[in-house]
């Protein structure tokens, strides 16, 4: 034991590897700082408190969706239904804005519907052993279809994003702290502490790392999975509410374009799609990196097309770096 520790200390290359593997947040934060510095060089004077505020509040919905992916990827799954569920939540809430119960009723309905969708997904994945990719893909069709039906029925009654959500999405405290953090910080703490300190969090790692040994150790993996997909859908619903507030739009395809970036954020953050390895800290920084990167590429005057190409290339490079480091470590 002590011998191993001393070898880590004496070999800098190896200790770097261990650092990357165990604490991906530290090198990732370094990358983030580098990106911000490049940003400042590209356009001197752009990095201000106000700029940081815009970046952070844009990154919040993505970071929450990355949380869905992190949790599901820990068990070796993936959740492609987060886009449909998030859009649905934002849209349904908007249609309730003029109802008797007000926005609160809408939010309640939206989140309950999201959790029902998550429950069905969880039963499919956990009990019927449907591949998560297929299950969540099918669920996204179902949710999108029902959202469209709901939209047709509500065309006449009109809809608008509740002012409460626009305030949460775009408002600031003391002029530079995004209001969305009021929702995000507690959520993030629950996920971070939940993963590290609670039995359920450890079960997620156990089920993802080795399902057979988890079962033999007495973990009921179907219960873990059903709960997981309900949590994931709830998070997606909350992200959708914030996103509709941030963009001040309610549409049934609002969050579609966030699905793949959310997977990317989790991958950049060091969560393995094979399950059992990763954490939420990295995913949060990953979401921030993606937001800063998108802003940087805009400042550099690259068209949307080149931004996508750079985006894709960076995901491959970062994922390759992780795989190399963790495989040899």
């Amino acid at each position: 034991m002590s011998a191993a520790v001393t070898t880590f200390r004496r070999d800098p290359a190896r200790s770097m590897q261990v650092l990357f593997r165990d604490q991906p947040v530290i090198p990732l934060a370094g990358l983030l700082v580098v990106l911000v510095i490049v940003m400042q060089i590209a356009q001197p004077g752009i990095v201000t408190l106000n700029w940081a505020n815009v970046i952070v509040r844009g990154a919040i919905p993505l970071a929450i969706l990355a949380g869905c992916q992190t949790l599901t990827m820990l068990t070796g799954g993936i959740d492609l239904s987060v886009g449909a569920i998030a859009s649905m939540a934002g849209f349904v809430t908007a249609t309730f804005v003029n109802s008797a119960g007000g926005p609160a009723e809408g939010i309640l309905v939206a989140l309950v519907v999201a959790m029902v969708a998550g429950l069905v997904t969880g039963i499919g994945v956990g009990v019927f052993r449907v591949h998560p990719l297929i299950m969540t893909l099918g669920m996204s069709f179902i949710v999108l279809g029902f959202a469209n039906v709901w939209q047709l029925q509500n065309v006449q009654t009109g809809a608008g994003v509740p002012s409460m959500l626009t305030a949460l999405g775009t408002g600031t405290i003391l002029g530079f702290i995004p209001t969305g953090l009021l929702v995000f910080v507690p959520l993030a703490l629950v996920i971070l502490i939940g993963l590290r300190r609670t039995g359920y969090g450890r079960l997620l790692y156990a089920v993802g790392d080795n399902p057979i040994s988890a079962r033999l150790s007495g973990a009921r993996s179907w219960q873990v999975l059903v709960t997981l997909y309900v949590i994931s859908a709830l998070l997606a619903g909350i992200a959708g509410l914030l996103l509709s507030g941030f963009t001040n739009t309610a549409s049934v395809s609002l969050a579609d374009s966030s699905v793949l970036p959310s997977v990317a954020a989790a991958v950049i953050g060091g969560t393995s799609i094979m399950g059992g390895r990763g954490g939420y800290g990295g995913s949060m920084v990953g979401a921030l990196i993606l937001s800063v990167l998108a802003a940087l590429l805009t400042v550099l005057g690259l068209p949307e097309a080149s931004r996508q190409i750079v985006f894709g290339a960076i995901i491959v490079i970062v994922a390759a770096a992780y795989t190399r480091v963790t495989a040899e470590g």
């Binding site: 893909l137 099918g138 029902f146 991958v267 799609i273 068209p303 931004r307 894709g312």
Partner: protein, 334 residues
């Protein structure tokens, strides 16, 4: 692996046994074809005017997704998955449409060949990245889907271009008999000419081998890396064909990827391809695409909200996989 042993069996067995074992092995696809025929009859029953012209339209409209499903099936049989198929389709479609604008028919032939070669190269690039980086397929191809879609947007910021006459004529209208859509004939000929030799070759054997058990395949001397790269290259080839069929059926190139990537996954699962790899073929997925399209058509005829048709697609996708995995569980138990 299974292909070789199976063919030995059929040679020895009596014809009746051979047919029985063949149908047992292809039970899923045969059931699916039965479902397709039932759906066609049902369509005719609820809409008596459903005749040759809609059938021809059906052929044209399923062609891009059917080819995308074939593309996805190849790589999934080999134990991978390609989430960049939709983007590769957009890229190849845009390039072909841009090059073919105001050009002669002969030049169009050159463009088609060039785009198919490009498809192979795109696929090989995906496969090589998966091999070299050792990152899971799903992540690499997801990232590459951004790259290919970005390239498509760089080449053509907005839809444009054109298709040469013969290419457009190839996918529209009847063939010999008014009940046979030309697009269906084109599809079957293209897939038969390209897939059957591939699946009967050494590569085909290796493909199924690495899909069913990569470690066992490696220890039996299968060149796993090369086979995986080739599988992605074949997928790229079929994705390019799907992109060309998009250009042919719409007459222009659109730089924004359609929903083909995810629908292709749905179609292959419905078509009896095991997502874990090693099992299935490419004809099942084609029938799966037709079934999905027919269900949508029927729901339109029944004047059911088209959005509920989307719901039905999701339910069918999940239902099929659930039944499949329940059957699998029961088989393992017995």
């Amino acid at each position: 692996m299974s292909a070789a042993t199976a063919s030995v069996d059929t040679n020895r067995a009596r014809p009746a046994d051979a047919i029985a074992s063949w149908s047992r092995r292809n039970a899923w696809v045969l059931g699916l074809i039965g479902l397709m025929i039932l759906l066609l009859l049902f369509t005719k029953a609820i809409q008596p005017r459903y005749g040759p012209i809609p059938i021809q339209g059906l052929g044209t409209s399923v062609l891009p997704l059917a080819l995308a499903a074939v593309a996805q099936a190849v790589v999934v049989i080999g134990g991978g998955i390609d989430l960049s198929i939709g983007s590769m389709m957009a890229l190849t479609s845009v390039i072909s449409a841009m090059l073919m604008k105001n050009q002669s028919d002969a030049f169009g032939v050159g463009v088609v060949i060039g785009v198919l070669v490009l498809g192979v190269l795109l696929g090989a690039a995906n496969g090589s990245l998966v091999m070299v980086t050792r990152v899971p397929d799903i992540v690499v191809t997801l990232a590459m889907s951004f790259v290919w879609a970005g390239l498509a947007l760089l080449i053509a910021p907005r839809p444009g271009g054109a298709a040469v006459g013969w290419l457009k004529a190839l996918v529209v209208g009847p063939f010999l008999n008014e009940w046979i859509p030309k697009a269906a004939v084109v599809l079957l000929v293209v897939v038969a000419v390209s897939w059957i030799p591939i699946s009967r070759s050494r590569f085909g054997l290796y493909l199924y081998a690495i899909g069913s058990n990569r470690l066992a395949a490696f220890r039996s001397g299968v060149p796993v890396g090369r086979t995986r790269v080739m599988a992605y290259a074949v997928t790229g080839f079929f994705a390019a064909l799907a992109g060309l069929s998009l250009t042919a059926s719409t007459g222009i190139g659109t730089p924004v990827p359609g929903p083909y990537t995810l629908l292709s996954v749905a179609a292959i699962v419905l078509g009896g391809v095991n997502l874990a790899g090693g099992r299935g073929g490419v004809f099942g997925p084609i029938v799966g695409v037709v079934v999905l399209q027919l269900i949508q058509t029927d729901m339109t005829f029944l004047s059911i909200d088209s959005n509920l048709a989307l719901v039905a697609q999701g339910v069918i996708l999940i239902g099929v996989v659930m039944v499949g995995s329940l059957l699998e569980m029961r088989r393992r138990r017995t």
